[in-house]
């Protein structure tokens, strides 16, 4: 990479870093893994910087790298997916009232138990406020798939947070 390109890359990454960290933490839950994920994504962005810079929306391109890195990593870690699910992992129903630290941790713990692709859809749509079409573009799937994954992800989250017998209970 030419020095000018490299300076441009560093300037962009420095500005984008807080947003990428937030997205990675929401996807991973574990702060160490999240920081590793960000580093992986930034390295890939460096390698593909010329193509990235030519993209219509550099932020979206970068988010796509990060989300796909997350999904790829999860795919190759099937064991972790398979071994979760002990009863102790299930969070207790969150208490009503404004979000506090405890509630936030409960929701995070529940979100972590949603399958990775559904989790990515929920995070992109409802915590990064991306429209369906943009979430589909980031994930490399159709808008219809995003909608169905949204429905499945919300159902899973509802079961985890409300419990199967308490669906629809206002919190």
């Amino acid at each position: 990479m030419r020095p000018d390109d490299e300076r441009e890359y560093v300037a962009y990454v420095s500005g984008a870093l807080p947003g990428l960290r937030r997205l990675a933490h929401l996807l991973c839950g574990d702060p160490h893994r999240a920081d590793d994920l960000v580093q992986t994504a930034l390295t890939r962005l460096y390698v593909h910087w010329r193509r990235a810079r030519a993209a219509d929306d550099l932020d979206r391109y970068t988010r796509r790298i990060l989300v796909r890195s997350f999904l790829n990593e999860r795919r190759l870690a099937w064991a972790r997916v398979r071994l979760t699910g002990a009863p102790a992992d299930v969070p207790h129903p969150a208490a009503p009232g404004p979000p506090d630290v405890e509630t936030r941790e409960e929701v995070r713990a529940a979100l972590e138990r949603v399958p990775p692709r559904q989790r990515a859809v929920l995070v992109l749509r409802f915590l990064c406020d991306l429209p369906v079409a943009e979430a589909a573009e980031v994930l490399g799937c159709s808008p219809g798939t995003v909608k169905s994954q949204t429905a499945h992800g919300l159902a899973r989250l509802r079961t985890l947070l409300d419990g199967p017998a308490e669906r629809g209970r206002p919190r």
């Binding site: 990479m1 490299e6 890359y9 560093v10 990454v13 420095s14 870093l17 807080p18 960290r21 937030r22 990675a24 933490h25 929401l26 702060p31 999240a34 920081d35 960000v38 580093q39 930034l42 390295t43 962005l45 460096y46 390698v47 910087w49 796909r68 790829n72 795919r75 190759l76 870690a77 099937w78 064991a79 398979r82 071994l83 969150a94 979000p99 509630t103 936030r104 409960e106 929701v107 995070r108 979100l111 692709r117 929920l122 749509r125 409802f126 915590l127 949204t150 429905a151 499945h152 919300l154 159902a155 989250l157 509802r158 947070l161 206002p170 919190r171």
Partner: protein, 238 residues
Amino acid sequence: MNERGPDEQEREAARLLGALRGFEPPGDPSPGAPGRAVRAGRRRVRARRGAAAALSAAAVAAAVVLPGSLPPSGGGGRPVTGAERFDPSRPAFRVGSAGGFTPASYQASPGVQRALLRPEDPDGPLRGTDGVVEMYPEGDLPPGSAGKAPAGRAAPDVHDRRARWLDAPVLRPGAVEMAWEWKPGAWGFVSLKGPGANRARTHLVALGVVPAGTPGVPDTPPATASPRASATPAAPGG
């Protein structure tokens, strides 16, 4: 599952995920992160260039020194690959017992990882049927595929990855075969051949293939000599 409209989904998402809105990760962004990424990126770019150059040099050397060893033109030789290769010193995958089959041997090489399967019960209904699993790195494909990515009717996903039934087998003529994209651009293949071969068993065998190091799956037999991708797998017998 209940179908919910977009507005209801929004409300439900706000209720369930509202506590995470405004979430900020703990700690400050590491100021060294961009610099580390630049250094890692430079290494990655250098490695890719080096691998491409080495591959080109090897191809030229092979063409000059071993002209007879190259596949015949138009015969479906393996496409030129990217830098990604398997570590030949150890299996990259574990193949579990599934669909009535169990691994008989495992061959590890940089360009293909191959497991030969035999029936779990040699005297059972799968007698005379055998299987082959071949896993390829990104950019590589079996010689029988003529360099084309697997095409065919959609098969059930394998570990959440898209899969295809192969109407024209690429590993062994007359076999029931499926392929799945175990990671982007990289394909795995299962081939079952014999009286007990069918699609349901083929899919089960594919589901039994997991990355090495995955607990809960019995070890495959020790890796044997590296296979050549163009070699026709020998039936494991049984």
